[in-house]
């Protein structure tokens, strides 16, 4: 059946079987390969995308259920070709990853947190990513990346001195 999906602020009309997961639709129909398949039973979180800004497991959602929601995938986060968002850059700064497989989902979980909480505590960061399994890092450098991004984003949102911007 045909559905119209709003992904990264673009409309995509796709023809899917009703049983197709949003994850499979993103990967197989739209070649948005940043969402990764890990367990396909909703535990590892590697398939996380944002649905209206909230982190959701795309392996547990049918593509047809996504109709009418604003979906954000990792491909929607970078400001332009070759550029990184503050959050993505912070992950690079702390090396908050190794193999990179859980990374897009981890960044989206963090994006969801930071969109609602500009100054998260360590416990809040841990809570926000506790549904995303990383087998490489032991999480330390991921938590640091998110804290660093929060700090930088707070700084970015400060009113700037007019004499500097002019």
């Amino acid at each position: 059946m045909k559905v119209e999906l709003d992904i990264n602020k673009e409309k995509h009309e796709v023809d899917v079987e009703p049983r197709m997961s949003l994850l499979d639709c993103l990967r197989d129909k739209l070649q948005l390969n940043g969402a990764h398949t890990g367990c396909e039973h909703g535990v590892c979180g590697a398939c996380t995308v944002l649905v209206d800004g909230t982190a959701v497991r795309s392996c547990l959602m049918f593509a047809v259920q996504a109709d009418g929601y604003a979906i954000t995938t990792i491909e929607g986060l970078s400001p332009g070709p070759g550029e990184l968002s503050i959050l993505q850059d912070a992950f690079c700064e702390t090396h908050g990853m190794q193999c990179g497989y859980c990374t897009p989902a981890m960044i989206l979980a963090a994006q969801s947190l930071l969109s609602k909480n500009a100054s998260p505590t360590r416990d809040e960061i841990v809570d926000a990513i506790s549904g995303n399994i990383c087998r490489c890092t032991g999480y330390a450098q991921i938590v640091e990346a998110i804290a660093l991004a929060a700090e930088r984003m707070r700084g970015q949102n400060q009113p700037q001195d007019a004499s500097v911007t002019r």
Binding site: V43, I74, Q88, M97, G100, C102, R135, G138, Y139, Q141
Partner: protein, 796 residues
């Protein structure tokens, strides 16, 4: 970190270049590679731990629209050779699909090929296989005794049973006033990457070429494909530019590869198989060691251990993969960081009707470290001595290096006391002890965990000739090729996949260091197996030593070539010339100078200005042997196995809820010494990740089987992976004792953290429950079991 000024780029806190593609979701993982017209595989697996395959009815599956083929084991076995195994056990043949008999629950029986994975799964459900269940054996000790045989033609369940005696074991035991013996167990777990194994193959019959893209981390992978597929190796092209989504040893999917390679060749279509989690957990053959240790030590009144007898029985599952060799690596550090003079080691690998084992991070060393550490704690306990003090008394001293251990390996360097003292200072050990005692007084169970252990790194796999005399392999090289192109940019080539270890960053950093150029300007690419130099893939904590070493030597060759070109062109002896930032000049006459651009131009375009005997172009290769070379074992099984030995010391405070039995790590400090650190971000990440794996193996993760022989932990609801909640903040204290054997003094760190974390957790839990008069000697220490033990002890 290193002394300031020692290096330009080595040891500085530089970013990891691979990260940029991962944070935007642009990794190139196996599942992202989708050739035109690719078809998909799903599997029919055996639901019994052992069963005769009576019949297979494929008709309903084949009638389904979109289904292309249904393959059984007989056809595949008829067309391919058996999979390679490490041991000389010809009557334990291993094949991708079972032939006549299936030997574990989850073993692959039939493969279905269809237009989509979903259709292939639908069709797999329509394949009717009739089974006749057979008797089975799950327990390793029971299998060792015989009875039910997993492979009757083999005559027993024993794949390997070898006893080594290094030194005067019986004499040392007789001369010692104290002996202690116990049994400790390491449960079946694995590193379980978030990405399952995936592989795609296509066959071009006109070019006679098999192309393979796989999430592989395995030495000798193209060779095994060629031999099993009966193809010349020049007809197998493995693409190494596939990002591997975590491996930590286990991504050894040779059986997966042969399955899709055969189907691709048979059907003339690109074929891919990406395991789902169920296929991965029960039939992906990536379980780790399941090991029973029987350890006896002889020691004096001061707790000095003079001799050790260790029996290690590993339940390797239904077929012989490479796993029995995991009993071999620990030979290289069989005494840990301690001066134990003599050792008797019995290594036993037994077959059972469980999933096949594969290599897991540290290749068997972590379980052995745990057994040694559990034992030394009991020595202290028996004598009423402090556990830390007994460790210190037995340590190899800084002045003793290089230190030859009884089993034939020489430890290169170390300063174990210094690392331990740094950790004790960082943690404020007396305060930590006081905190434990305060918690105990307040009614909580609290314990301090301690572990000291080694990470053998960069070895030549001499456990192979040690455990299988028919294997004479002593070579275990790695390589790098570096070219400067005709406009002066640098490209370095590596020859293996990576699974998050940052090898592109490693090569770029090393080349930048030697050639004095910005490492970020050094392009690093990966060859495919047909245009690559020899590599043995990232195993055994070897790449900093071996790939880093190869890159160093290749870059130096290139630098020497540039200097020789300048010398010839300037008519100045090379010895008088200085290389600086890519330019070459005569320090005594600075006008005598050739810039990078000039040298590159001469090297590529002006052969008339080149030294007459020099090859044109600026491209060099280096193939590097293991720093300690390679030798065959002596008759009594002594061999130099690994050149470098990293050290780690773990210290933690754990509380246990006395009612629930739930442990919580309150403080964790690790001291880590892997020699010169090439990239601090990478080494720290490896160590933290290894600790997380170790906590998982110690407390949560287990491939548990029920009495019916079925794997009950086959998804992430039952096989528990540590989340950010379970992994505590860890403080790392660095120390650097450079290796005298490597180019920058670096040692391996790919397995760090995992080597000692399980031992340290076990130490902490036992310290916490010892006041109750109980001891726990098997991993994982599951909450429910610990809670029951504590409850029973308190009732007494």
């Amino acid at each position: 970190m290193s002394a300031p000024g020692k290096f330009r780029f080595i040891s500085s806190d530089r970013r990891v270049r691979e990260d940029r593609r991962f944070v935007v979701g642009k990794g190139n993982f196996a599942a992202d590679i989708v050739p035109q017209g690719v078809k998909h595989v799903a599997l029919v697996t055996c639901p019994h731990p052992a069963a005769k395959i009576v019949s297979i009815d494929k008709s309903a599956a084949l009638d389904m629209p979109g289904v292309h083929y249904v393959l059984d084991g007989a056809e595949l076995a008829g067309a391919t050779n058996v999979l390679a195994t490490g041991l000389d056990t010809p009557n334990v043949p291993r094949r991708p699909l079972a032939v006549d008999v299936a030997r574990y629950a989850g073993e692959w029986v039939v493969a279905v090929v269809a237009d989509s994975r979903a259709l292939a799964e639908d069709a797999a459900e329509l394949v009717a296989v009739e089974y006749e269940p057979l008797p089975f054996v799950l327990d390793g000790e029971a299998a060792y005794k015989g009875g039910v045989l997993v492979h009757p033609a083999h005559g027993s369940n024993v794949l390997l049973d070898r006893t080594f005696v290094w030194g005067e074991v019986e004499k040392d035991f007789a001369a010692s006033p104290h002996k202690f013996r116990h049994v400790v167990k390491w449960g079946r777990s694995a590193t379980v990457p978030v990405e399952t194994f995936g592989v795609t193959a296509s066959w071009d019959p006109w070019r006679e070429m098999l192309d393979v893209w796989a999430s592989i981390q395995m030495p000798k992978y193209p060779d095994q494909i060629a031999m099993t597929m009966k193809l010349p190796m020049s007809s197998v092209r493995v693409h190494y530019d596939v990002d591997v989504g975590g491996s930590y040893g286990v991504k050894r999917g040779i059986k997966h590869t042969i399955l899709v390679a055969y189907l691709a060749k048979r059907l003339g279509m690109p074929i891919r198989f990406i395991e789902d989690r169920l296929e991965n957990m029960r039939g992906g053959d990536m379980h780790g060691p399941e090991r029973n240790f029987d350890v006896e030590v002889a020691f004096d009144n001061n707790g000095i251990i003079r001799s050790m007898k260790m029996r290690a029985l590993d339940n390797v599952g239904a077929y012989a993969g490479r796993s029995p060799f995991q009993l071999g690596k620990p030979v290289s550090a069989i005494v840990g960081p301690y001066k134990i003079k003599s050792v008797q080691y019995q290594a036993i690998a037994v077959l059972s009707n469980k999933t096949v084992q594969e290599a897991v991070r540290a290749f068997g060393q972590s379980p052995t470290n745990y057994a040694i550490e559990r034992t030394i704690e009991e020595v202290a306990n028996k004598l009423g001595l402090d556990r830390l003090e007994v460790r210190k008394r037995n340590l190899i001293r800084h002045e003793d290096f290089p230190y030859l251990i009884p089993s034939g390996s020489t430890y290169d360097s170390g300063n174990y006391q210094a690392v331990i003292e740094k950790v004790l200072t960082k943690a404020d050990y007396p305060a930590l002890v006081a905190e434990r005692d305060r918690l105990r007084a307040a009614g909580t169970l609290a314990g301090i965990g301690i572990a000291a252990c080694l990470e053998p790194s960069g070895g030549n796999s001499s456990f192979e000739p040690l455990l299988n005399p028919k294997v004479g392999t002593t070579t275990w090289m790695d390589s790098c090729r570096i070219s400067i192109d005709l406009v002066g940019s640098i490209t370095a080539t590596m020859h293996t996949t990576s699974a998050g270890q940052g090898h592109e960053t490693l090569v770029g950093t090393v080349v930048g260091e030697v050639l004095e150029v910005d490492p970020d300007k050094v392009r690093v690419v990966r060859a495919d197996s047909l245009n690559s130099l020899p590599s043995n893939s990232p195993v055994g904590s070897r790449m900093a030593i071996m790939l880093g070493g190869a890159a160093f030597h290749a870059a130096n060759k290139l630098k020497a070539k540039l200097i020789a070109i300048a010398a010839h062109d300037l008519d100045v002896p090379a010895e008088r010339l200085t290389y600086e930032n890519g330019n070459v000049f005569d320090a005594s006459a600075p006008d005598k100078k050739r810039t990078w651009t000039e040298l590159v131009t001469i090297g590529h375009r002006y052969i008339h200005r080149m030294p007459p005997d020099m090859e044109p172009g600026l491209s060099v290769s280096h193939i590097m042997p293991v720093p300690t070379g390679g030798g065959l074992p002596t008759a009594d099984g002594r061999v130099q196995m690994y050149p470098c030995y990293s050290f780690e010391f773990h210290l933690m405070l754990v509380t246990i809820d006395p009612d629930l039995g739930k442990p919580e790590i309150k403080r964790y400090v690790i001291g880590h010494d892997c020699g010169t650190v090439i990239n601090p971000k990478i080494v720290r990440g490896m160590t933290m990740g290894g600790i997380a794996h170790g906590i998982g193996a110690a407390l949560y993760e287990e491939f548990a089987y029920n009495d019916d022989g079925l794997l009950v932990a086959q998804n992430f609801m039952d096989y528990l992976l540590p989340s950010a909640h379970e992994v505590p903040p860890v403080e790392i204290v660095h120390h650097e004792t450079p290796s005298p054997l490597t180019v920058f003094g670096q040692k391996g760190s790919g397995e760090s953290g995992y080597l000692g974390a399980p031992a340290a957790v076990a130490s902490a839990v036992n310290d916490a429950i010892r006041p109750l008069g109980i001891v726990v000697n098997s991993l994982p220490i599951k909450v429910a079991r610990l809670g029951d033990m504590i409850a029973a002890a308190r009732e007494k």
